[in-house]
Point group: C2
Chain length 75, copies 2
Amino acid sequence: MSTPSETKILKQFGATLRAERLKAELSQEALAELADLDRTYVGGVERGERNISVLNIVRLAKALGIPPGNLLKNV
Amino acid sequence: MSTPSETKILKQFGATLRAERLKAELSQEALAELADLDRTYVGGVERGERNISVLNIVRLAKALGIPPGNLLKNV
DNA sequence: GTGTGACTTCTAGTCCGTT
DNA sequence: GAACGGACTAGAAGTCACA
């Protein structure tokens, strides 16, 4: 949760999430609301500062209309 | 983390993990060691009792030699 | 070799705000 | 709109003894 390799994984996940969110033309705020999560939390995840859990990965994926596995594409 | 639909997701994830572990012909114990996790923790995830985080998903996937996204295939 | 309950520590996740 | 901070609560992480 703080080793360099873990940081890399979280950053990569966050980058993928951000890319998908932008592709869907949503603001962090809008995505957060769709996924029923806090806006500051979504921001933290995109910045690679949070170790998100499966249930929330699925929530975000559903809100984005993509398969959850896609968010792990580049990790 | 306790609604029926969430339970379903966790159980499905656990089932996929178990299937991949068996395909790799590993015991929970062996997989746990490869992933540097506790044996009882892995068991709990397979039974759908734990809402695992990304980092641990990646650890398990690496230990299994599969892309992390595969574990979310059926959720 | 696996399931289960119980437990502690640490962080996920929320809510308030400011830059 | 997004980054960032503080303070807080729910829950994940991690381990153990026993069946």
